[in-house]
């Protein structure tokens, strides 16, 4: 299955799209932020520069940001497809995209300190596989920048200092703390991708998966939808603003998922995504036909 289809080419195109074009609703959110900032303020100038940058990157098919991030990938595949081959093809696509300058050579051997030179390394790209009932493939990817990754945080509840208990009010308190700690360092205005529950690993993974959601969607769980909305308003009231220059646009969106947990643990994991909220999603049918979903 899929043996006759050049998946490497499609995967390379997926990487190109993610690195050089932002989803439309993200650009709209940045533009809306620009329009509420004070005329002539540092915040407005920063957002104007960002909007110009988005246009230039799209026009010249060049990376939006020089930190082209970690490619984090989720692939759904039908019964009988070799995940080993999919992994090899995707890794080769990352090499090609690096060669073509859609990506920076962004992998460093942690022990020797040397750049691997071709954009790939241990767990780079990082690929999750899930078998599904569909006949084709669905490939979803984010490019996760490092500056924003460094300001991500994982809290365990209860948190005495923040008076945060094991409930949604506790979640609200630690999320706002994470935004205050991050200031502008994660390239605000950012997107908060949150997971409540899980263990330390699954919680981070599931928080990142929230970045595949459209900014404009509504959480199907009413109390989480309400918390997402409230946190968006309150995070923007903190006044941190674009780049931490001060202003009204600190966060573009808040997305919350949850996993179950064991009794001893109650984790709240916040993945902070920079304004360059890069994702691309494609479905590939058995004939090699492509449907771009983002």
């Amino acid at each position: 299955m899929f043996e006759k289809i050049d998946l490497k080419e499609t995967f390379t195109e997926l990487v190109r799209r993610a690195s050089t074009e932002l989803p439309g609703e993200v650009v709209e959110a940045i533009r809306a932020g620009r329009n509420v900032e004070d005329e002539g303020s540092l915040a407005q100038k920063a957002l104007d520069t960002i909007l110009t940058n988005i246009e230039m990157a799209g026009d010249s098919s060049a990376p939006l940001c020089q930190d082209t991030g970690t490619p984090v990938v989720w692939i759904k595949y039908p019964v009988g497809v070799s995940t080993r081959r999919l992994e090899e093809d995707f890794t080769e696509a990352v090499r090609r995209a690096t060669e073509l300058k859609y990506l920076r050579p962004n992998a460093v051997d942690t022990l020797s300190g040397r750049n691997t030179g071709d954009g790939t390394g241990r767990a780079i790209p990082f690929i999750h596989f899930e078998e599904w009932d569909g006949p084709g493939l669905e490939v979803r990817m984010i490019l996760k920048g490092g500056g924003s990754e460094n300001v991500g945080a994982q809290y365990k509840l209860p948190d005495t200092g923040l008076e945060a208990g094991r409930d949604l009010e506790g979640v609200r308190r630690v999320v706002l703390d994470a935004v205050v700690q991050a200031q502008g360092k994660g390239c605000a205005p950012g997107v908060l991708a949150i997971c409540i529950g899980g263990d330390r690993v699954s919680s981070f993974e599931h928080s990142k998966e929230q970045l595949l959601r459209s900014l404009g969607d509504t959480n199907p769980v009413p109390e989480l939808a309400e918390l997402e909305e409230r946190l968006l308003v309150e995070a923007n009231e903190l006044g941190i603003g674009p780049m931490g220059f001060g202003g009204k646009t600190t966060v573009l969106g808040v997305k919350i998922g949850f996993l179950d947990r064991i009794p001893a643990c109650y984790f709240v994991t916040i993945t902070y995504m920079c304004w360059a909220d890069r994702r691309a999603i494609v479905q590939i049918d058995e004939e090699g036909g492509l449907t771009w979903l983002s």
Binding site: A62, T68, G239
Partner: protein, 195 residues
């Protein structure tokens, strides 16, 4: 928007204040994590002339090598500066830097160093890799490329009207402190706590 030519005098730098918009033109050098550690391990004589009275740009670019062997920056926004906090004030003093370009601001040790040495922190727009790459028309040379790799090498570049904002000046002013304090006050209010 004022234009600032590099190299620059201490006097011109001391005239700058938080909130000033500047466009830089002239020669500067990039350097980030590996470079700062390396610059402090020993006095690097071959690199020193490129640092003196100029600025260091915290940037790990995407670079293309053209057929004739020359280099061009394809994407070149700033990286987070706070990682260089342990080194920055000493690098400024040791090499006679007049400024640092990065994003996210730096802390007290650097702020004190800026006042002592006569230097400023210049904030570029994070992620604006295309806007900024186009303000870098020429790559003059590169140090430590083989050892550090493309993102971490020290690239000597010519810039033209490279846009930045002064967010930390040589008089103890820091926009980052002001914004952080304001956000903490509001945070306490949202949590129903006393500041």
């Amino acid at each position: 928007m004022a234009e600032l030519k590099l190299p620059v005098s201490e006097e011109s730098i001391r005239n700058l204040e938080v909130g000033d918009f500047l466009e830089l033109s002239g020669r500067m050098i990039t350097g980030r994590d590996a470079a700062h550690k390396w610059l402090m391990e020993d006095f690097r004589e071959d690199v020193a002339p490129y640092l003196k009275d100029s600025v260091i740009y915290h940037c790990g670019p995407v670079v293309n090598q053209k057929d004739d062997g020359s280099w061009e920056f394809v994407a070149a926004g700033p990286t987070t500066s706070i990682r260089e906090e342990p080194y920055q004030a000493d690098v400024i003093a040791r090499y006679g830097l007049r400024g640092v370009i990065g994003k996210g601001g730096m802390a007290d040790r650097t702020l004190t160093g800026l006042g002592r040495s006569g230097a400023v922190y210049l904030h570029a727009i994070g992620g604006a890799a295309q806007v900024l790459a186009r303000a870098i028309p020429r790559v003059e040379k590169v140090f430590m490329l083989d050892e550090f790799g493309v993102p971490e090498a020290l690239w000597v570049i010519d810039v033209e009207r490279f846009p930045v904002v002064v967010t930390m000046d040589s008089h103890g002013g820091s926009l980052h402190k002001v914004v952080e304090n304001g956000s903490k006050t509001k945070f306490d209010e949202l949590l129903g706590r006393k500041g």
